[in-house]
Symmetry: C2
Subunit: 364 residues, 2 copies
């Protein structure tokens, strides 16, 4: 493998000259510049990023921590973040923690060793692990963080609004007896509060037996729906904590012989890919997942590139897109469907790039 010294020797110049050419710095004659470039091509030389990073103290890498990339909620977000990082010349380390604090810690350690410029944590774990990262000079963005401290970037999803929106939708449809399946964690709690508030505003009394505790996964949705349908007076509609819960609930409802949404309506949250193509299409309070990832990474890189932002506390407020999926008619199907070209940004799935409210708040 060729080094910068080899290039310099073959080109008959000094390493400084080669380095200047590589980094597009001024002060090199066009002739030498061209000659050096040619030699570089010739030797198939690729600068050693490790050496470069070590010397310049900039690693040009970032990390992303997700519970698991196999959960369909994350790929869109990761893709958004990766696109932005790549654009800026940063390579992305992907880490799957399974929500396990130990794995979380292990990955944070690895990323610190690699001296990542920043890290996007979607799996907040212990916030104290992140303090080490911040001290070591990395920028950190957290989604769904319970607290905020230091110069942390937080990605805020308005869980309350989500629950409120979903519930209002069902109330608007005339439902009065509405169940809610959601976790007890921070996100689930917010959604549940929104649900309760919407019910209260419309003068509908909420009953404890209609509130099911769950995980953000399919089995929880199945178990939850089952439990609700066993009630003496079962609900005619269900607010699911997310799309996976909705999918689980729907499969169970159908297995129990209920028609969806005629007998029981279900509304989910997130709008993960394929949700719109499910049968029946899952009505869902959509979030701009791609954009969330993109903006988190952008915030990280902004701070990496502009140290002036250091010490400010950044929060993103993600807008909600209320998306009511419908079965496409034969006519509409002449056109590519929403969510069709999975893997590319498709207008209509709500994942095309769009501006997001962005607040910079100086730390008091």
């Amino acid at each position: 493998v060729a080094t910068i010294v080899d290039v310099a020797r073959v080109a008959g110049v000094s390493v400084q000259t080669v380095s200047a050419v590589l980094n597009d710095k001024a002060g090199i004659s066009e002739a030498t510049r061209a000659r050096v470039r040619h030699i570089i091509q010739d030797l198939d030389y690729q600068p050693n990023q490790l050496a470069s990073s070590l010397r310049s103290q900039r690693s040009r890498t970032v990390g992303i921590l997700v519970p698991s990339i196999t959960n369909p909620y994350w790929p869109e977000i990761v893709r958004g973040a990766e696109d932005v990082a790549h654009q800026a010349g940063y390579a992305v380390f992907l880490c799957n923690t399974d929500g396990d604090p130990d794995k979380h810690r292990a990955y944070v350690r690895v990323l610190r060793r690699h001296r990542v410029a920043g890290i996007f944590v979607t799996d907040s774990g212990d916030l104290e692990d992140l303090e080490g990262l911040l001290r070591s000079g990395s920028q950190v963005a957290v989604s769904g963080a319970k607290g905020a401290f230091g110069s942390l970037i937080t990605l805020g999803v308005d869980d309350y609004q989500i629950g409120y929106t979903a519930t209002c939708h069902l109330l608007d449809l005339g439902h009065r007896r509405i169940g809610c399946i959601a976790p007890l964690d921070h996100a689930g709690e917010g959604r549940r509060r929104g649900y309760a508030q919407a019910m209260r505003e419309r003068g509908v009394t909420t009953v404890d037996e209609l509130l099911i505790h769950a995980q953000f996964d399919i089995p929880s949705g199945q178990a939850g729906a089952r439990q609700l349908m066993r009630l003496a007076w079962p609900p005619t509609a269900i607010v699911a904590g997310n799309d996976l819960i909705a999918i689980g609930a729907i499969t169970t409802l159908k297995a129990l012989g209920k028609r969806v949404p005629e007998d029981v309506a279900v509304v989910g949250v997130d709008n993960i890919p394929l949700a719109a193509l499910y049968d029946p299409p899952i009505t869902t309070v959509a979030q701009p997942l791609y954009e969330m990832g993109a903006f988190a990474m952008q915030a990280i890189l902004d701070r990496v590139l502009d140290p002036a932002l250091e010490g400010t506390h950044t929060t993103f407020a993600t807008p909600l897109i209320v998306r009511r999926s419908t079965v496409a008619t034969a006519e509409e199907m002449e056109e590519p469907q929403p969510g069709a070209a999975l893997g590319t940004r498709t207008p209509g799935l709500g994942n095309e790039h769009q501006p997001v409210a962005h607040k910079e708040v100086p730390i008091g």
Copy 2:
């Protein structure tokens, strides 16, 4: 940020001693070892992987190239590869190429600069790009490669067998007029050959109008199904090139008022997550996606760690799991469903870890 020198100074020993402790090398008294470890904890010292890699010429990083992580085919594979890499102490760079040769090239360049120990390419692009990687000392595993050369690791999916299996399933159900929607690329061609062979063996004549060219995506499935249903004599069953095509075909069939599978049966390929929970559940020829990723990465790391394997040509033959999804009955739903806990390895989705046929072929 503390360095090894700081640790050595505080501990009152030399850097060599600290290094030895870090790398668990012999020749250090237990007392010093303990003291050094304590200081490391105390200073919150993390070795600089960049410096370590530069000096030792081992980067402890690998790269994975996928068209897009948002395509539900890839997350399982990536997860498998990442698990294996992490286990071995390697961090994973994730790259989304969108199948664009330029992006592909750009990413390969970036990974070379980072001196990755290996790279898993699922998006073969130009094989010549990979030669540079091989020359620069990286191990390369390719899935779905058209050719094989040098000491390349190839991940073989038996496309012919897939098409054959899918078609036989439909023939067994009594169908005779069977359409096929598949791409013209390498994978699609193989599946199509399997389809043709199965038809031939059963004495069913294949008609050109039943063969639809497509992409491996949902819109293609929609367009393809549409085209098939417009025929004077439409098929009663469809072999879809993959699950996305199957999903597209099913949505269109339903929009056209056809019942699935009563009027038209559809069989897909791959068994991506959620496919089994679709309505109707998508009957699919399943591949062990997680294992494919895991074995590719294992092969890469095997070669990195054991140079003796260098110069051998490795091929994986992935076994097929014929999976006929059915609607779960109420009784079965007491148990977590197949594919339920997305994001964890769940027995029943066919993604639990299992041995895979593994051939080592010395290069002639």
